[in-house]
Symmetry: D3
Subunit: 334 residues, 6 copies
């Protein structure tokens, strides 16, 4: 079916017909006793509010949270916020929509990320570790999921392709750091970086919105990832037991602390380095995204960030030089 | 070789010749500049101090910590503590001594414990879980190690046979508790109890004293145990995926809290029950052992217990009247 | 007065007249400027929403939160949730209603629980402890309150009869555990279990909804319970001072940790056992109740549990097949 | 028996015969295999080391830690530290020594402290609270113990008379603070201050060194003190229940936090004030004592203070100029 | 412009015209789809709700949160709460209103507080510290801000003049305490108390409501205050380096703990005393204010206090007998 | 004076005369009652034990901890550990020894580090920040101290030149990271990295062993460093206030958390990045140094590391490539 206008393109006072993902659905009742439905609708370009003021009881059974729906509506602007008054809405079949239209996606191309990681694998000197990595990604189901999965349900890299974006970033970080700290075994820390979150392809579902799987909540991506590696190693007959033990330790300890869900803390320098790189990349992503999103003309401060437990200062960015200057060209006379 | 007198049988002022395990070895130098060696020697009945006052430099290379040694010595009593003044000492070959002579052993018979656990397995209704348990213990190497291993390097059940003693105790506890809380799935919680610490057969070495293996420190018994179960399930072709997930969750969550090394916290009642039973059994063992060991005539209090972070009261035990007396009858003349 | 239909029996589109407890009362104002009143009404079978859309200002002074009210209303179903549109409402006198009609009650019969506890008291060998327990429950005001009180304002066993239900459960647990750990003094741990929460009869008020008393908040059930025991012991002239000290210690330490409000931590095995049994029983009640209540067809997971700080898995329960079915046989026609 | 020279008066190279309390006794063995005994001996003026180099085995059974002993010895100075080489030592009977000779005592006169507290009681307006306080101290056993007990086994005010010194100090603090914060009920906070640690007369033993009693460890001074007050109130027939509840709350909450052993936290301003005054007085005592004791010419810093978890700066004190100099006048020629 | 009626003087059913500060402004939409604006308006006597039901879209751009507005409205009483239905509203210029009309102000006269602090400064013996304090307050901009600033954005002393009120209170407390603990250097602790929060004149903005400045959030009042003192000391040529170090330490450590934002913990008794006095004064202010504000006839308890994490008991205050009665005399007939 | 043999060059059974730093000095007394002195002596190549068995009382006043001493001694090997039996020892004047001979020094050349940092400064685009950095290092006293100071009293980089080694490493890390995270302001984060620990030149003394200064303990390097920057900025008339605020924030927040002594937590991405880089560099240094130092043939594990609270695995290193390869030569064909 035809996707219709993207959220970011919707303008005021126009009819809007198209396909959107139902993020949240809440039934309300007006003080006159009339039922209505409040929705958050989204596609990959953003989120928009929807309201079903009429025929709410009749339209209600036709769709649920998590569905992709086809709607007819009219856009209104209220207090600077766009809103769709909906008069027709119902779910469409799973095959009638492309999931990538409805969920936010990484700003990077997953295929390119994957190629970059493959290239990195080829630089690994240790033949056992290199072969292990190659074998993991020879499995098409793994590679396909790895390119599509988000890195989290919410918080950092919570977009399609987020897992591979984050993995590539951490891999590049540890590559730089392994150059800086020469005693670090580059092969081991690179292999650890590439595989550290591989279990997330089983921990998260991302077909229609992002959520945890049963396995994700009961076993968790750390152990799921380690099991995937164990399974792969089983197919490599002469894989040295010690290297297997060390790469498992890299995965198990990558959250750095027991209270963050790692059953073991880093006990080799490579594992320590990986845990810092992983944490730093997640925090920097979250920190800078939040500052970008919360830029507001009237203040130098974001709203309160619940996880960081603080307000962030947005004023540094405004220093960024005039357009054009970044490329070394003088600003135009305009 | 002949074991010689057990530690608990050594009396004052007699020659002592026999085999003992070197628990600790420290070199010292007297203020006169003369070297000596201070030892702790042990067998399964206890620990005794040893001192090499003469020829220390010559005898020093002949043995290390962790060796079983053959000694010639003379016993002296100083300040109520027995001590061996050693004039000859050297290590003996691994095959010349029976390890069970040198390490403390469970007060229970491991064979009987094993039979009790086997009997318990047969009461499990669920055919998948029962078959899983049977298959685990059909492996002679597993069962043999399971009967011999300690449950910890130190702290609770740190004796040969300690693992199976603790496992049986926890199994009995959850069986009682599953009867008390009827909604609990008895089969699942029993299977979890029997398998919860199975990874300790790989986490600990116990041939000559107790210590952690490399795998024990880098992977840990929780994940090692889960892998052992995964391996066994792989040999059960139609094992339901959901049951596999639940039994793994039981193992992974049995420490109850992330900060105690469980990568997942209990999310089903059976796992919650198991985590309490495991914790209670370890604490009760430690608590009551410490009180027994620290009974002293001059005070109602033990010394300071580092892990409990308190002094324990020893006075309750002394109340236990002679048998028969509790019911108001005078003790019999026997 | 006549109770009228129980909450769990109310069906759609019918007039409803009867007596209900006002759990919450909130005044609102519609966007048209018209006042209304939003209520939660309850009886022992459940909670239902009520709305006063008309004459809100006039009816408002006639009742408060905590009152039992007589209402006239009409039931409507909105979004699957029953709701009463109320046109008449006013409080009734304290004597016109039976409290047990309006608060949830234990699934167990308090009289039977009390008899079971009495029977347990008779199995205590120690004459001093047995006499102490008998004397406590000879006081009709204590026994009567003990049978009626809840175990908590909210959280676990928050129903009439909840205190005695929890007490009986903990008593049975420690009886089992005392059999398992033989060095434990059964008499002492049983006496502790039976008395551990006795102070809650003064800590909580439960005539009209559950709340804390002034004493409950300023002194607390741990110390109130200990004082009740001290008062009773005073009436037993030759009660041994040491036993008094130990039974007091059992009460004072039963929360296990200082930060949970125990002024002393367990220093005898009996107190350690009691603190585990008490904690386990509260947690298991809460855990399993929450799973039962939150069973939903569309997911294997409960909503977020604030105190456990996690989502719980509801999928284990659904496995329980019909009897007989587990062995692959069809259920018999019976 | 004759006390002999006080510790603070002992000089080098002289025979010392007299009575001292054995604080610590440790048996050692020289590298030549000769036993010796290392002691800390004390009287109210300080602590001194003692060594039994000869006949250690023979003299050993004649005394224990906690005994008052009669010794014959010779004083030597080694590395600036005085030490007694002992050739005769044995315990003396309980009646042969005055305890006040052997334990450190408050720098204040307990009788005067007691009189000051009595005077303070007379300023309390509330007749019930005043009568309660009077009745407590009419009991000669209470008053006598109150004047003699230490405030702690170690840490702050760990001297004979320390309890009443600390109590008077806290009482004066809250009197000042009640004047500063006018809404505070002075009567209640004064009564609370005077009684807050009264349970320490049962928590600590102080006949021969300071230690905890069984009750002290199993019940604790907070609850023991509250029970003493309950007992006293029982003898005041018309004592208002609410005042009893409030004064109990003052006692129970005076450690401020659950994790410091208070079963309830302050919920009235008077209790908050008392908890701060108590904490401040203990901390200031400890802080300033430590600085005085650790003044050393070569550094501005004390050694590491374990409880404060830091080093303290001793340099402020040295600034105190000679009297008169502060006002810019030169010190007089005197 | 004319202020108009104060919030505390507004009565029901009357036209209200005047100037108020917009504390919060939220746009809503009625279920009929009609926009409205919900406001909190305040002046120094309190806060009142305002609603713009008509012409919301037209009036909306005319004012923002933080503005002082001139309104025309009509007062209505709903459920005991006064509310203004607004038909005209727009912001006024900064110079048309006196800030002191619109923000709550200290119950004390800032001029008198300032005079009291000046008087206190004159009692300081140490000429360096006295001169430092004099020089700080000779700067008219500092003194003026010091008299006007609040002590916090919310929580304690969050009113105009709150900073100087709190500073005077802490100064008096440490003066009393320095008298009580004689080894304390009164000059140093007094200077510390007077200057401890001086950095708040830069940390907070208070022209139109209270908020943090950029410096306040990025540097903080502790370091800002220390810098102000450093700047002043620079103008005192012979100021002793050691005293400068000590007064800085007083400022830096006055929050007592690292986790409360002090980069150093108290290491001299004077700093310890100051940190207690500061904490006590803030807590007592908050505690007693909350109890006063939450006095309610139907209960002895306040609502839940988020920071103290508890409910507070309001019943002690009600005991305060009529004036005169405390001395046993009947109240006069007046 | 002549330095004499370096510690790392001392061999067994030879006379040793030379200059060494007294790290620790402890007086002991043999069981024969003969005094002796136990020393740790060091120079920049290591630490060695010294013993004064004869004439201890006479030699004792001639030197103290922290002195450089001239000794005459004889080397003995005992249990594989070298030890000097000393017969003459006395301190030498401050000018008679070069401090750099006696304290461990960075493996890097401080001059080269300084040149590298200078080169880095020249790459900063922002003229204000570049000028600030240039001005700081134009002060010869600062630069000289910066090249000499250690980064810590113990723990990481506790050697002469350690501060500049650590600073250069952190500077390089943030330069790499600023390239990786493009929205980060490279100039700001580089300036922050170069200056973050500059206060340590005042926090630590390092003339004769490493210790904290009075200022170091009472003010701390975070605030001392910020003050140094404030002082420098004061000399730059038009330095923008906002940049001053931001660079100060970088310094103040670089420990990342309040409980680690930062009075503010990072609120801009540049500060977050710096805090991670600083922490990572310290931890990696400590982690890898400990593993190198604790390599032991008989085990794959280090001893217990107190700060990391764990044992570290040393086995990864042994994989290090074949000999010869490290020097850039291809491995020989053997």
């Amino acid at each position: 079916m035809h996707k219709g206008p993207y959220v970011e393109d919707i303008r005021e006072k126009q009819p809007v017909e198209g396909l959107y993902l139902v993020r949240d659905k809440n039934n309300g009742i007006t003080k006159n006793g009339k039922p209505y439905i409040a929705l958050n609708l989204s596609d990959k370009t953003g989120v928009i509010k929807g309201r079903v003021w009429d025929n709410a009881e009749k339209l209600d059974p036709g769709f649920d949270q998590g569905d992709v729906v086809c709607i007819k509506s009219f856009s209104v602007l209220y207090q600077g916020e766009m809103q769709l008054n909906i008069h027709a809405i119902n779910r469409i079949g799973a095959d009638d929509a492309d999931p990538r239209d409805f969920m936010s996606t990484s700003r990077l191309d997953p295929e390119q990320c994957c190629a970059d990681i493959q290239a990195c694998i080829e630089t690994i000197s240790d033949p056992d570790l290199r072969r292990l990595l190659e074998l993991v990604f020879e499995d098409e189901r793994i590679t396909s999921a790895f390119k599509q999965a988000p890195a989290a349900k919410s918080i950092h890299h919570d977009c399609l392709g987020g897992l591979i974006e984050h993995t590539l970033s951490v891999t590049r970080l540890v590559d730089m750091l392994a150059g800086h700290y020469e005693t670090v075994n580059r092969d081991l820390v690179l292999a650890g970086a590439i595989l550290h979150d591989i279990g997330k392809i089983q921990e998260l579902s991302y077909e229609r919105g992002f959520d945890y799987t049963d396995e994700g909540r009961l076993i968790g991506h750390i152990v799921l990832g380690m099991e995937l590696i164990t399974d792969t190693i089983r197919r490599l007959p002469d894989f040295p037991a010690k290297k297997a033990m060390l790469i498992k330790h890299m995965i198990l300890s990558h959250h750095g602390q027991l209270e963050f869900g790692s059953p073991k803390r880093p006990k080799i320098p490579e594992a320590l380095l990986l845990s810092y790189a992983d944490d730093l990349d997640a925090k920097m992503f979250d920190f800078t995204q939040f500052i970008k999103k919360e830029q507001r003309p009237e203040t130098n401060w974001t709203g309160y960030h619940r996880l960081f437990n603080r307000y962030l200062y947005t004023g540094v960015f405004e220093e960024s030089p005039a357009p054009g200057a970044e490329n070394g060209q003088p600003p135009q006379d305009v």
